[in-house]
């Protein structure tokens, strides 16, 4: 039961198969704190991607010899559910999942104040429930929100988005079919305050000029994703009613 490769991915009006413009990201929704046991959690739906992230920690490291004397150790597991892709995937971790677990860990660590909690571990789990291209970026995005939900102090949120080249045009946030049939796919993760790129990978072919444009396009996508992350975190805590706001105006000082 495999998908037929579509004839064209982008039409004459520069509209993509799913109706998006070239520089549009997929509709994205993030929910925060949806798992009861985890210290922090979040869920993202981005187009057809459905990804869950959970954080446990900081807590004691097991096994003990993995502990670092001067900071927390971040452990990350990126994993795809067997039913998440077109052809059932074996539950055993694949080489791709191991590589992604590593690069995602290296991407999120710069954002965390690990030096505040020596000899502990922060365990991060990313489960892809349904995949449609760009799962490592969506995974990083939702993981960063889960870390914030866990109350782990961070320098900045990390936002991720892929950009690339499809049928000669430079596009943002590629779906699976666009990635497979396109000329280049470049996932990128970004921390805006430090202008820091913490994840950068690419496969495909890009000239030097195209590369520069694609980097800027991806960073722009990351900034859009960042707004969505912040809104999601705020939405969880919007409590104040209008009556409360009025009372606050009148009274002062009770902290």
């Amino acid at each position: 039961m495999s998908q037929k490769k579509p004839e064209k991915l982008i039409d004459e009006n520069e509209i993509r198969l799913d109706g998006r413009k070239l520089n549009e990201i997929r509709p994205t929704k993030i929910e925060v704190g949806i798992l009861g046991n985890a210290d922090g959690s979040a869920y993202i739906e981005q187009g057809k991607n459905k990804i869950l992230a959970a954080v446990y920690g900081p807590k004691e490291v097991h096994p003990k010899h993995l502990a670092l004397p001067d900071r927390a150790v971040l452990r990350c597991r990126y994993h795809m559910a067997p039913f998440s892709v077109e052809e059932r995937k074996s539950p055993a971790p694949s080489r791709r999942e191991l590589e992604l677990s590593k690069v995602i860990r290296e991407c999120l660590e710069p954002s965390i104040f690990t030096e505040y909690y020596p000899r502990t571990s922060i365990d991060l789990f990313i489960e892809v429930l349904q995949a449609d291209g760009g799962t490592r970026c969506a995974g990083i995005t939702v993981a960063s929100v889960a870390l914030a939900d866990a109350g782990i102090p961070m320098r900045d949120l990390v936002s991720a988005c892929a950009a690339g080249k499809v049928e000669g045009r430079l596009v943002l946030d590629l779906t699976d079919v666009e990635d497979k049939a396109g000329e280049a796919d470049m996932p990128l993760a970004y921390m805006p305050n430090a202008n820091a790129i913490t994840l950068l990978q690419m496969d495909g072919m890009l000239t030097g000029e195209e590369f520069e444009q694609v980097v800027n396009l991806a960073i722009d996508g990351c900034k859009q994703v960042g707004q969505i992350q912040k809104e999601a975190l705020r939405a969880k805590y919007v409590v104040a009613k209008e009556a409360e706001a009025e009372k606050e105006e009148a009274e002062e000082g009770e902290e």
């Binding site: 495999s2 080489r95 791709r96 191991l98 590589e99 677990s101 590593k102 690069v103 290296e106 660590e109 710069p110 470049m186 921390m191 430090a194 202008n195 820091a196 790129i197 913490t198 994840l199 950068l200 990978q201 690419m202 496969d203 495909g204 072919m205 890009l206 000239t207 030097g208 590369f211 520069e212 980097v215 800027n216 960073i219």
Partner: protein, 265 residues
């Protein structure tokens, strides 16, 4: 039994020098270490090459097998890249199944070859949809003194250029080997260039001690026409957008230089 970890004093020295534009071994910031390439040293393999990049040493062997093609590419041969961080190469390498470092190394080497379409896989079809050649590229790290990625990619390229496949014909669904050999059809020459970041400085071809001090690393694989075909950022730090663009310019230039060491015109 010595530890390969550089002392703190030495690490500080390395970082200080780099901030002033110099390196401990006297190289310029964008200079590669001396490269030695030897090909065809393993006769049992269809192709082989050994690259010494400074003291880093990588051996790549190429083997052929016949197998089934992937369903979405029924007329194309298959490429498989594997890497082993052989325990004798470093006190930090443990025996056992491939860990995340050897998997990352294999996948980065693979990406460079695959995305640049270096191997003409369409010429490796024996029977469309049924039988194709499977090319196994095995990267064997023999000594780790930093920058395994560039050394492995260079050795893989040299090994592929050295690879010979036997002549054959298909008679009644059976593959019959004929006398003589022909070179594996190679259409592109991807070369990886790895940078290490030290604050605001970028350094090409970090050796082991520099790798212990660096903020992060960035590898760009460039194909023969100067296009970038693979990128991999590694390590816990980050690069600014400006640094990434600067690296892409330097990478294209260095790749051309390095390519000449392996590809004889």
């Amino acid at each position: 039994m010595s530890s390969i970890m550089a002392s703190r004093v030495r690490q500080k020295r390395i970082a200080q020098l780099i901030s002033r534009g110099k390196r401990l071994d006297g190289r310029g910031l964008t200079d590669y270490r001396k490269v030695q390439v030897e090909v065809g040293l393993i006769e049992r393999a269809e192709g082989s090459a050994r690259v010494r990049l400074g003291k880093t040493e990588v051996l790549v062997g190429v083997k052929f097998e016949m197998g089934e093609p992937f369903p979405d590419t029924p007329n194309e041969g298959v490429l498989t890249v594997n890497a082993e961080l052989v325990p004798l190469a470093s006190p930090t390498f443990e025996p056992g199944p491939p860990d995340e470092n050897s998997i990352e190394l294999a996948r980065v080497v693979d990406r460079g070859i695959r995305e640049s379409k270096a191997i003409a896989t369409d010429e490796l079809c024996i029977e469309p949809g049924e039988k194709v050649f499977v090319v196994f590229v095995d990267v064997y790290v023999l000594n780790h003194d930093g920058n395994l990625i560039d050394a492995s990619c260079l050795a893989a390229l040299a090994a592929l250029l050295n690879t010979k496949m036997f002549n054959y014909e298909v008679k009644e669904g059976e593959v019959k080997i004929k006398p003589g050999y022909k070179p594996l059809p190679i259409r592109n020459h991807p070369v990886a260039v790895t940078f290490a970041k030290f604050n605001d400085k970028l350094v090409v071809d970090p050796w082991l001690e520099e790798e212990q001090v660096m903020d992060a690393r960035l590898t760009m694989t460039v194909e023969k026409d100067g296009k970038i075909c693979a990128i991999q950022k590694g390590g816990y730090g980050y690069f600014t957008a400006e640094q990434v663009l600067e690296a892409s310019k330097i990478a294209r230039q260095k790749a051309e230089e390095q390519r000449k060491l392996v590809v004889k015109e």
